[in-house]
């Protein structure tokens, strides 16, 4: 496969995963904010924080729902907004059209057209939730088409590398930001609602049912964090994503360096002690993991995209947290 094309499909998969995760996060957070009393210190702004972008000054100190939603969903000047990442995924698909199955292209193009035509109307909460659910469904459709029609060769491998790396990254971000608000001693006010908030964390990763199945007791912070980081079976758990990455890297030409970085991250996740849950420890762990992810990305880029020259500058989704 051409190095340039490999890079494009890798980014396409990252952008698509980013779009799906953003939609899911906003849905879950909207539900959560509706459940909490107004004096509880969970803000719309925390969503911006999770997505790892800096808050635009014009949103002010305590940004409101409207401003944050516009920033995260419809703002075309913001490269990580839903509209922007879907557009970039579609551009990458457009330049890779010669190797994608026609159904995959049509599904991605369909997602782009849907988002372009409907994002602006998704202002009220009801409309917005409906819009975001449709985005999630369409992303799942795309993944389904890819799963059902792409041969397990290089194209598939680069798609999965992009998807799994982005997914692992998003899971750690959600754990990081939400845990900072939820850990003991942080907020007396929040205590009665702690169960609800952890439930929301699980839901923003579509993990509530799977967690319930796996952990048959009351929802507790340490259990949720352990599940989201260490579970070997749940598709959005960090350990699971890392295992998939390792599988994909095994056949990659010059993939040894990237494989080493993944190994290091897995080692870190496995040996992490999460009980009792400590804010500083968790935060440090996640910082380290995100650095590992950056290294994995750089190693893949070096081995496969660069071809002796410098990489064209890409909008880096992975900014240091």
């Amino acid at each position: 496969m051409l190095s340039r094309v490999a890079e494009n499909v890798y980014w396409m998969a990252r952008y698509l995963e980013r779009a799906e995760d953003t939609a899911r996060l906003v849905i879950a957070s909207t539900h959560l904010l509706l459940d909490l009393p107004r004096y509880v210190p969970l803000s719309w702004g925390s969503m911006v924080e999770i997505l790892g972008v800096s808050m635009p000054p014009e949103l002010g100190e305590a940004p409101d729902e409207r401003g944050v939603m516009r920033f995260l969903i419809t703002d075309t000047n913001h490269p990580s907004s839903l509209v922007s990442v879907v557009r970039m995924a579609r551009e990458d698909a457009r330049v890779s059209r010669d190797i994608l199955p026609a159904d995959a292209w049509e599904a991605i193009n369909g997602l782009h057209l849907y988002v372009k035509d409907n994002a602006a109307q998704a202002q009220g909460r009801a409309k917005r939730l409906e819009f975001l659910r449709e985005v999630v469904l369409r992303c799942q459709q795309i993944n389904g088409v890819i799963d059902g029609t792409v041969s397990r060769g290089e194209l598939y491998r680069f798609l999965m590398l992009g998807q799994q790396l982005e997914r692992a990254d998003m899971t750690t971000r959600i754990v990081d930001v939400r845990a900072a608000r939820l850990l003991p001693g942080d907020s007396e006010l929040l205590r009665p609602y702690i169960g609800v908030v952890w439930m929301s964390v699980l839901k923003s990763l579509s993990g509530y049912e799977m967690y319930r199945h796996q952990v048959q007791s009351r929802i507790s912070g340490p259990d949720v964090v352990r599940f989201l980081l260490k579970d070997p079976c749940f598709p959005r758990a960090v350990e699971r994503c890392l295992r998939r990455l390792a599988e994909m890297l095994e056949d990659l030409p010059n993939g040894e360096r990237a494989l080493e970085c993944v190994g290091l991250a897995r080692q870190r996740v496995r040996s992490a002690r999460l009980e009792p849950l400590d804010l500083a420890v968790t935060h440090q762990l996640i910082d380290d993991l995100q650095r590992d992810f950056c290294n994995v990305h750089a190693a893949i880029a070096d081995a496969c995209f660069r071809y002796g020259g410098p990489l064209p500058q890409r909008q880096a989704l992975v900014e240091s947290a």
Partner: protein, 483 residues
């Protein structure tokens, strides 16, 4: 009023589907009966389904506007153009004859120039050709074929005669739209394909791959064929990706290729360099190789001409093939056919006045209000004067241009292009069309079944280019058995 009731046909025009008395021509009978059975509302619903299909299938072309490039949905009209197979067989033979002769001409021009020595084509035609490439003199592409992919524009005048309007031998585009138009029609009007023998068109990509593969250096068993595109901002990018996908060839940009010290071409893959044997290039000569042509070009591949001349890579169309894609050379094609093949041309040329000839020039200048004036080397319908529709100021400007650079201008009588009923709102109106079949020459010759029909969507307009308000139609070649 019924959807298919046409306004009275203007008497001067030839309609492809309807005879002058308003009754369908024989090959269009099924189609017109079917259309008559649809209500306006049903027809409109189908037309909307067509638009939706084009949007989700992502059939687009790119236009530049205000410094931005916009990806536009392909304008498509659902009423097809219909041609009887018997007529088409004759046209196809004429197109093969023409391309064969043109390739012999190009090969001759880059070697002995017998045709000039024998005074069939005057030397000054070549001396001033912008597309003659001295760097190609003496090169020997396989089978003596230089123009491997040719898009020939055909038009029918009011008397029913088909003429060749121009031969596009550089990087002709449009074939993907021909193929996609058929897909769209089958998706939206499946019942039309049930009761008549509409010949299929989707053979093209297989034929193109065979043609390209046949050009590979002889020693190679499994040649690697690539499509070279200038990139996503090119107006035909959709087509480049489409053809690469359909042939299973890599779609490459200049930056993906390099020429190594062995004078062979390689592409940069995730597993290291991989040898390339045939390049279907969709960029102009001038940008192919910065070492030889435009040194500023970032689209091309340094050293490519070296590799080509060494016979290590085939380039389609070959560099320099555009020498025959010149409207002055066009005027000589009937003579070129007679000279190399000793045959009479099967399809006629439009009568052409060469402004470089004094008598012709005098006639052209005196009759600017009746003629179409074209620059010799432009394509895409740019820079031409349609005399009867132009203002006096425009005509004066062209008179000046012609006097300044007579070699660069030709003139032809204004043809009344034939029409095809076209959906305008919820009714059918006649609109002017042309037809671009695609002709291939490698080891063998091949002509598409029909071609791309382009239609001027504006009432009365004769300009069919998609960059200037043109649309397209599916083209049916119908086998009517013994008729």
């Amino acid at each position: 009023m019924h959807a298919t009731t046409l306004d009275a046909l203007p008497e001067v025009d030839y309609d492809e589907l309807l005879a002058p008395d308003g009754r369908p021509r024989p090959p269009a009978r099924h189609l017109m009966e079917y259309l008559a059975s649809l209500s306006s509302r049903e027809l409109k619903a189908r037309a909307q389904a067509v638009d939706a299909a084009i949007k989700t299938m992502g059939i687009t072309f790119t236009v530049y506007s205000d410094g931005e490039n916009i990806d536009r949905a392909w304008p498509f009209d659902p009423i097809p153009r219909v041609i009887a197979k018997r007529e088409w067989d004759r046209v196809a033979a004429g197109l093969k004859q023409r391309l064969q002769a043109l390739n012999m001409f190009i090969d001759d021009i880059y070697h002995e120039q017998r045709i000039v020595k024998d005074k069939v084509v005057p030397a000054e035609v070549l001396a001033q050709s912008k597309n003659f490439r001295p760097q190609c003199v003496g090169a020997t592409p396989r089978f003596g074929a230089w123009a491997h992919i040719c898009g020939t524009d055909l038009v029918r005048d009011r008397d029913g005669t088909l003429y060749v309007l121009e031969d596009n031998l550089r990087v002709p585009s449009g074939v993907s739209y021909m193929l996609e138009n058929r897909h769209v029609m089958k998706r939206i009007f499946p019942e039309l394909f049930e009761h008549q023998d509409i010949l299929p068109v989707d053979d093209y990509c297989g034929q193109l791959l065979d043609t390209l593969t046949s050009l590979a250096p002889e020693s190679v068993d499994n040649p690697e064929v690539v499509v070279l595109t200038p990139g996503i901002y090119n107006s035909a990018y959709f087509e480049h990706a489409y053809l690469a996908q359909q042939m299973g060839a890599e779609l490459v940009e200049g930056q993906d290729l390099f020429v190594d010290s062995d004078d062979c071409v390689y592409m940069k893959t995730t597993r290291g360099p991989a040898r390339v044997h045939v390049i279907y290039r969709r960029i102009d000569d001038a940008f192919l190789d910065p070492e030889v042509f435009n040194p500023e070009s970032l689209l091309g591949v340094p050293g490519l001409m070296r590799a080509w001349r060494a016979g290590n890579v085939a380039i389609a169309n070959a560099p320099g093939a555009g020498v025959a894609d010149d409207k002055v050379v066009y005027a000589f094609v009937p003579d070129i056919i007679r000279y190399y093949l000793a045959e009479e041309p099967i399809i006629a040329n439009v009568p052409t006045y060469l402004c470089m000839r004094e008598a012709d020039r005098r006639y052209v200048l005196a009759n600017l209000d009746k003629l179409v004036v074209k620059p010799a080397n432009e394509s895409g319908g740019y820079g031409l004067l349609v005399g009867p529709h132009a203002s006096q100021a425009e005509r004066n400007r062209f008179a000046r241009l012609i006097r300044q650079d007579p070699r660069n201008y030709i003139a032809q009588p204004t043809l009344r292009l034939s029409t095809v009923p076209t959906l305008c709102g919820s009714r059918l109106e006649p609109r002017h069309v042309d037809l671009r079949p695609f002709v291939l020459q490698g080891r063998e010759l091949y002509v598409t079944t029909g071609g791309l029909s382009r239609v001027a969507l504006r009432k009365g307009s004769l300009v069919v280019n998609s960059s200037q308000g043109g649309g397209s139609k599916d083209t049916w070649v119908i086998d009517m058995g013994d008729e």
